[in-house]
């Protein structure tokens, strides 16, 4: 033993001492400091003829649209950078860049994330740059997603009205009528299980709380509301529990695969015809087309099954805006680009081809790339279905500013319940309690609905 080495106790004592000293040192001087984005938006003066460069983060492969802009707008060049979709890393990146003070000028942000971005002062107040004049170009409820305290904070991109994608060939083979109610849907699932040689009607994806929220949305539940300045979490209500129990039965009776959707395992099932349907959003068309080209011509789209025959209710899954993040030096140019990419007819057509969603721009549908028969869907004018779906969405649904964390916890609870620890309905109760905790931890006023 080398005696010159210090004893462990000495090291420990020294370590503890240092930690204590460090803890005491920074005497709380920064209290009162502003929270959130390290840099605030300011318009940089530009000389005539000077080129402006904008950086745009998105996970929708819109490069062709951006190329078109760059060709037609030589003075404002946009560089598109692909980021991981939503919570798979995209928002982490945005928040980290906001904190570090080097955010991109523009970024795709889903509607349910906008309140969370408000909490960190992460969005540019676009009313200062004339955004209010653009209001009439957009579907009102989508426009309202980005309005807080009367100010405009984002340009809506698209929403995700839901429908039922199904394999008509397989349905015909197994003698299944297109289900119009959830009861018929369950019946169809039983038939597929019996006749399908290992196939299932669809998958239940515990990793997709936004999908589950949409299911509850259709049922008529509202997960978040406000009273004065207080946020009220209401996931654990009768309507949502009914939805949870329905899928609980589907899972327990082995009528569905349980796997993350839009994952490699799920795509494999879709490609090989082991999955015959997907309760999905309009923007899912591009995913099916891109990932299962071998199934072209076999798919059709129908309206969402209803809880009561004759009802006509739909829901929205996803929906994004083109946000101009706090800290840009070119808010005017960024706003021009954001408005163009979401309303220009050619731009929208290019966006549609890569599945950017259901346009938030008004009056753009007729004559667009959406308004045609599609060979992938056997020549069906499938977007007529989504037109109906879009009209029957109750647009009063609200999002909490902690949606990311709330849904992460709901997702975790789903995972545990699938493994036998609790139920899907029980997960809602857990999520409701956690949501309140999350809101309180952020310094907001919050309570449970009951």
């Amino acid at each position: 033993m080398d005696t010159s080495a210090p004893s462990r106790r000495a090291v420990l004592r020294w370590g503890a001492g240092t930690a204590a000293a460090l803890a005491a040192a920074p005497a709380l001087t920064a209290c009162g400091e502003a929270v959130g984005a390290a840099r605030t938006t300011r318009q940089a003066p530009t000389r005539r003829g000077q080129k402006v460069k904008l950086v745009f983060w998105t996970w929708v492969p819109m490069q062709k649209t951006v190329d078109l802009w760059n060709r037609t707008h030589p003075d404002i060049q946009v560089e598109m950078q692909t980021i991981p979709a939503n919570v798979q890393g995209g928002y982490q990146k945005m928040h980290s860049s906001l904190t570090a003070g080097n955010p991109p000028d523009l970024a795709q942000v889903e509607y349910h994330e906008l309140p969370g971005f408000m909490l960190v002062n992460g969005l540019t107040n676009l009313s200062d740059y004339g955004a209010d004049e653009l209001r009439d170009s957009y579907v009102p409820w989508q426009w309202q997603q980005g309005v807080f305290d009367g100010k405009v904070y984002t340009v809506p991109q698209a929403s995700g009205p839901m429908g039922l994608f199904y394999r008509r060939d397989l349905f015909a083979k197994w003698g299944i009528e297109t289900p119009t109610t959830w009861a018929e849907f369950e019946q169809a699932a039983r038939v597929v299980k019996a006749r399908g040689n290992g196939a299932r009607l669809c998958a239940f994806a515990p990793n997709q709380p936004t999908w589950f929220a949409a299911m509850c949305w259709q049922r008529g539940a509202r997960w978040v509301r406000t009273e004065g300045d207080t946020w009220i979490a209401d996931m654990d209500n009768d309507l949502s529990r009914e939805v949870a129990d329905y899928w609980e039965r589907m899972v327990r009776d082995d009528l569905v695969f349980v796997e993350p959707d839009m994952s490699s395992a799920w795509y494999k099932h879709v490609q090989t015809g082991k999955i015959a349907a997907w309760v999905g959003p309009q923007w899912g068309d591009a995913l099916l087309r891109g990932n299962a080209p071998g199934t072209a011509g076999k798919w059709r789209v129908a309206l969402l099954p209803q809880w009561k025959a004759g009802q006509n209710a739909s829901a929205n899954w996803g929906g994004s805006s083109t946000a101009i993040l706090q800290g840009t030096r070119h808010p005017r140019e960024a706003l021009r680009f954001a408005h163009w990419i979401n309303t220009d007819r050619k731009a929208v057509d290019l966006n549609i081809s890569v599945g950017y969603g259901w346009p938030a721009a008004t009056g753009i549908f007729r004559g667009s790339a959406l308004d045609k028969p599609d060979p992938f869907f056997g020549g069906q004018r499938y977007n007529d279905v989504f037109t109906v779906s879009d009209r029957t969405i109750d647009t009063s649904w609200k999002w909490s500013p902690t949606t990311d964390a709330d849904f992460a916890q709901l997702q975790d609870a789903f995972g545990a319940s699938i493994a036998g620890d609790g139920s899907l309905a029980g997960s809602l109760a857990i999520a409701q309690k956690r949501t309140v905790d999350n809101l309180l931890a952020k310094g907001l006023k919050a309570r449970s609905a009951r």
């Binding site: 420990l12 400091e33 982490q92 904190t99 993350p260 490699s264 500013p401 990311d404 310094g443 907001l444």
Partner: protein, 315 residues
């Protein structure tokens, strides 16, 4: 921490080395390192402690207006410790370490001892094969194994399915051990090499003597080589403990493949998500400080345990 270094030289330079201004020269050599060490170890830790004592104070309608920072005392720590998911993440990595580290070290030791009895050429090729995964970054290894775990994509699941087994590598009860497998795959060969190196440092005469005494290969391995490889085992043990507490990349990469890996699966993952997904850097700072504390206690604790035993054995 102590070193069984050759003492022959340590006293010599210390005693006789009296240059004109030893302090100045020494600090000259140390300064670049010490400055960066302060900047990347001490300062961040202090800053984390500071941040962990803060919390945002909200204003405006629904609290969505501008916010300022206020003093939170130990609230963030209380909050972190109240979160069952955060506490569970510690339990999970402890369980993980208790199983994964012994299995890995057992495998490494067995491979090292076995290679030590093989002829040179074969040993060299096999050793290279075992060591290769160490050159594969953890995230890449996880992407690879991810493909080998996902049913429908994995040829392994395919093959096992053909013989009537249907392993669910990503299932709730299995996924932790599937992650353990990735870590073992990455580091077993590396740890083996540490042990091999230690065995090579043992004078050959010892083996010769054992052979003359009539010890079998097996007896030599267990009675002589194993005890002599002890320092290497301690070393690999310490680094495995530290590595386990840092577990991050593997669960992060596996997560999209299955619903069974949660957002706070490991303490690191929890702090990361708290900071960037949930955007609560103050709570995340508290979680980081707690993790650093636990990690230090565990690695120091393991060392003192081992060394106390060593002293007792020596007595």
């Amino acid at each position: 921490m102590s070193t069984t270094t050759s003492r022959r030289t340590t006293s010599a330079p210390g005693g006789s080395r009296r240059s004109a201004r030893p302090d100045r020269a020494a600090w000259g050599f140390l300064l670049p390192f010490v400055a960066l060490f302060l900047f990347t170890f001490v300062l961040p830790l202090g800053y984390a402690v500071y941040q962990s004592l803060l919390t945002p104070v909200r204003s405006g309608p629904l609290g969505l207006g501008p916010a300022t920072l206020g003093f939170a005392g130990l609230d963030n720590y209380a909050l972190a410790l109240q979160q069952s998911a955060f506490l569970e993440s510690f339990a999970r990595v402890l369980l993980f370490g208790l199983v994964q580290i012994p299995v890995m070290l057992l495998l490494s030791t067995a491979l090292a001892l076995a290679l030590d009895t093989l002829s040179h050429r074969w040993a060299g090729i096999l050793r290279a094969a075992y060591f290769l995964p160490y050159g594969v970054p953890g995230v890449i290894a996880s992407i690879l194994w991810g493909f080998l775990y996902v049913p429908g994509v994995s040829p392994i699941v395919d093959l096992l399915g053909k013989v009537g087994l249907a392993p669910d590598f990503l299932g709730y009860d299995n996924v932790l051990w599937s992650i353990a497998n990735i870590v073992i795959w990455e580091f077993a060969g590396y740890n083996m090499l540490v042990i091999v190196a230690q065995l090579k440092a043992i004078p050959q005469e010892l083996y010769e003597a054992a052979r003359i005494d009539g010890a079998s290969t097996w007896q030599t391995a267990v009675r002589i080589k194993l005890p002599l490889a002890r320092p290497a085992l301690v070393l690999t043990g310490v680094f495995s403990i530290i590595g386990t507490l840092q577990l991050f990349a593997e669960p992060l990469v596996i997560k999209p493949l299955t619903s069974t890996v949660t957002n706070s699966y490991t303490p690191n993952l929890s702090a990361y998500n708290e900071a960037f997904a949930n955007n609560n850097i103050y709570l995340a700072a508290a979680e980081s400080v707690i993790l650093a504390l636990v990690a230090s206690v565990l690695s120091f604790g393991f060392l003192s345990l081992v060394n106390r035993k060593e002293r007792r054995d020596a007595r």
